[in-house]
């Protein structure tokens, strides 16, 4: 019941925001002091609102499983509307060309997972803790399971 409603909410958010992952947790310090590890970002990805310079985009790079959250530094748009852009982390001293796939110089719309629209601090720390220390996750699960079994009325 809980699992299925969580799945429904997630899929519903995907439809409303147009992003394949509407909520992401910041995993690195490359956008400090704006975003720290464990902060939560809400994304949208409406195709009718084109990407512009200064926006914070979340993008995927071939060969890396974890999406990156960085700011758009440069953008060129052709007459037919196709865009290419370059990103940089606020806390990094150089742009992201070194992070992209080998030989890749620009990002395009198909690399974008979403654009950051909302911010909530620290809440994502729970998921980071659970992923880095699986023992905590198992302990919580075991505790909850026991609790349910013992506290049957």
């Amino acid at each position: 019941m809980i699992v299925s409603s969580a799945l429904m909410i997630w899929k519903g958010l995907m439809v409303v925001t147009g992003s394949e992952s509407p909520i992401v947790v910041v995993l690195s310090g490359s956008m400090e002091p704006a975003f720290h590890r464990g902060d939560l970002l809400f994304l949208t990805n409406y195709q009718q609102e084109p990407v512009r310079v200064g926006e914070i985009v979340v993008f995927k790079v071939e060969g890396r499983d974890i999406p990156i959250v960085h700011r758009v530094l440069k953008l060129h748009e052709k007459k037919n509307g196709t865009i290419k852009f370059l990103t940089k982390g606020d806390n990094n001293s150089v742009d992201d060309r070194g992070l992209y796939a080998q030989g890749q110089l620009w990002l395009t719309n198909k690399d974008v997972v979403g654009r950051a629209r909302g911010f909530l601090p620290h809440v994502g720390m729970v998921t980071i803790l659970m992923n880095e220390y699986p023992k905590i996750k198992f302990a919580i699960l075991a505790f909850l399971g026991l609790y349910v079994l013992v506290h049957r009325e």
Binding site: A34, V53, G54, L73, H76, K78, D90, F119, P121
Partner: protein, 179 residues
């Protein structure tokens, strides 16, 4: 009935919901504020060169260079739900190659409590002004705008353009000597 666990659970649940409510009120209290402000920009020095772009294609591209003056008072933008302003100066222009080009030339992070009264004279740009081709030489209309991205404690992440931008044109000859 009132075991240690149930008391602990009640305290944690209650404080979490109070925190969530307070955060929501913090967001609501600043959601409808006006974050616009004026900025005065000018460009004392403008050059354009034609050199190989080793960061990208290695082809020769137009490289613009300029210094700028900037005056703006952003102190009124800060309140209890503004953690940081991300300021950036961007150049916007069109070329035969591209209908729209946007290049960030300079940026600055201002945290709450830091000096937000800006008065810069003859500042150098922070990032290279590379064009995607040869669209800078003689370009008649390049617009410089100051914008800011507001980073709240919790809430939306709006991007606001300053009132007042500056347009200039690039010289129609390349500069060949060193900058």
């Amino acid at each position: 009935m009132h075991s240690f666990l149930s008391r602990g659970n009640a305290i944690i649940a209650y404080s979490l919901s109070v925190l969530a409510l307070l955060t929501f009120f913090c967001f609501l209290s600043t959601e409808f504020l006006d974050y616009r402000a004026k900025a005065k920009i000018s460009t004392p020095k403008i050059l354009v060169k034609n050199v190989p772009d080793y960061s990208a294609s290695r082809r020769e591209n137009d490289l613009g260079y300029l210094t700028f003056d900037l005056q703006a008072d952003l102190t009124p933008l800060f309140n209890w739900n503004v953690k940081q302003l991300f300021l950036y100066l961007s150049a916007e222009y069109s070329t035969p190659n591209n209908a729209l080009n946007q290049v960030v030339l300079w940026d600055k992070i201002i945290l709450r409590g830091e000096n937000a009264l800006l008065d810069f004279k003859n500042m150098n740009i922070k990032y290279y002004f590379w064009d995607d081709g040869h669209g800078l030489k003689g370009n008649p209309n390049v617009t410089l705008t100051l914008s800011w991205n507001i980073i709240p404690n919790a809430g939306r992440l709006p991007i606001i353009q300053s009132i007042g931008s500056h347009s200039f044109k690039f010289p129609s000859e390349y500069t060949t000597d060193r900058l």
